[in-house]
């Protein structure tokens, strides 16, 4: 066999492999995709309903978990730059009160050239990220805006104990419960509790007694204090309580925010 024939044979062999391989990869993809969907319940196998425009809420959205961060405006006043944004949850809420999304994009970073500038909202209820730009910098020069390690709220349910010898307990990172005092009110015993909600403030937290002998909790209006009424006889040395509500959890990651159309 001549060298030309050998070369041709090798090339032909490779063509055969590649052609069959191309078809094969598609076959494998389809079969494996089918494997994944087969493990889901029948009702989950639906035709794609993802909006054809390619976003859930807004073309400029940044999805963090299932909440969309949507930049609304960019405003510069001297060296002060503000990015106003909205949060829209994609969680199912049928039959629930509209409490709004509990996402706190607390730390923002923007980059102008090689300069990184940190900023963020002042508190969970303020949906404006503020930045101090370097002297002479303009919003149009911003290269990248990112949200770093945002906080998301999740359900909280913690049992714990307080006593005179151990009057303060950190129930989760940054959130402590303190036994202030115990007083008598007729035949009842009142246990006065203070909640130190940390920074940023925890979205919502309640304290109640755990086990028999407690009446429902009373929360002092406007103050993070709770008076618990004990009617179970002598107050135990260790007071068993339960905290429930919500807590902040950090979602690690960098999430790019798109402000190009707003500058």
């Amino acid at each position: 066999m001549k060298a030309q024939t050998v070369s041709l044979t090798i090339v032909a062999f490779l063509i055969g492999v590649l052609a069959a391989g191309g078809i094969g990869v598609r076959v494998i993809r389809e079969v494996r995709t089918d494997d994944v969907t087969r493990s889901l319940p029948g009702s989950s196998i639906t035709a794609p309903t993802y909006p054809s425009n390619g976003y859930f809420v807004d073309p400029d959205e940044t999805l963090i978990a299932s909440t969309a961060v949507i930049p609304l405006s960019v405003r510069q006043d001297g060296s002060s730059l503000s990015i106003r944004y909205d949060l829209v949850s994609r969680s199912p809420i049928a039959g629930m009160p509209d409490t709004g999304p509990f996402l706190l994009p607390s730390k923002w970073v923007l980059r102008i050239g090689s300069t990184m500038i940190e900023g963020g909202p002042a508190d969970p209820d303020t949906r404006v990220a503020l930045f101090d730009l370097p002297q002479g910098a303009r919003a149009a020069e911003i290269d990248v805006v990112e949200i770093i390690n945002p906080l998301a709220a999740y359900p909280l349910n913690v049992f714990f104990g307080l006593s005179e010898t151990n009057p303060r307990v950190e129930i989760i990172d940054g959130v402590s419960i303190e036994l202030l005092r115990v007083s008598e009110e007729g035949a009842n015993t009142i246990v006065h509790i203070r909640i130190d909600v940390g920074d940023p403030a925890i979205p919502m937290i309640w304290i109640e007694g755990a086990g028999p002998g407690w009446r429902p909790a009373v929360r002092e209006a406007g103050r993070l204090r709770v008076d618990l009424t004990w009617v179970g006889g002598d107050l135990p040395e260790t007071i068993r309580l339960r905290a429930h509500g919500t807590q902040w959890i950090e979602i690690e990651g960098r999430y790019r925010v798109f402000i190009g159309r707003l500058r």
């Binding site: 993802y50 999740y154 919502m204 509500g245």
Partner: protein
Amino acid sequence: MSDPGLEEPSRSRSQDDASDVIPWGPPVAATILGALLMASSVIFSVVTGPGEAGTVPTALPATAQQATGFPDGYAAVTGTVAFRADVIKAGSDRVIIFVSSAVIGGRDPASVTLPEVAAWSLRVPGDEAGMVHQYAAMGVPGSVTIEFDQMLLPDSVVLNAILPGTVEHVTDRVLLPGSLPGTLSSYTITVGDHTIVIDELVIGDTWGSIRWHLEGGIAAKVEVVVTLDGTTDPTVLTSSHAALLDAPIGSLLPPLWSTRGQALLAPTGQALSESSAPTGITVEFFVSVVTEPGVSVEVPVISVVAP
């Protein structure tokens, strides 16, 4: 007459063809052989599956958003809702998982309810744990926190949501003497082959508490309604969470499926005045038990935070 100028080149080409003719047999055979080899590889791959690394679809590929209609990394548990474990925090003696949910694109979240999960399981190679508790809060609808009291290595962890399959409901009634505080302990309620054990029920004039656990079965829910009989305006206590809280929007949602639970009882309505001595106490238990598991769906895990 022929034109020698044309004939020569023509003959010359004919002679070249005869001497350099390509033998197409080997290349054609090689093409077929190559295709057959690759085809057999494809068939083997399809038959044997994607292999160890691909058997666990822990995270959907980046194109899942387009393919499923859910945000990246969410796995569908129903046709309209998908779950994702955003964070797993491994403590010194327990694992807590924070799960969020997302509605499929094109649907209004206000028109979709969060599907119930009967139980969650956590698997690592060679070990598996069932949840201790799962709970939801009214302030963050759509999110669930799950607690495991077994410490499993977080590497290559697999989380499964097990939907309710068969659910049986039982109502049980107990009459107690009228003396307060009334107590009931180690009281059992049978549901099919499964047993709910009321570890302790304590009833006061306008307060109470209940603690229970499930023996056998997947998960259960227990609600109790206590009526202090014989009073002119009978006091009714309930473990319903809505009645426990003193604000329009309380923090806890009704208890999710669990294998054990405890709750305070509170009077229905706003009255907290003490009632006169009852002549008797009627206790009604409303019990639901998941006796058979439904579909199990693997929920992608996004981030694991070790202690």
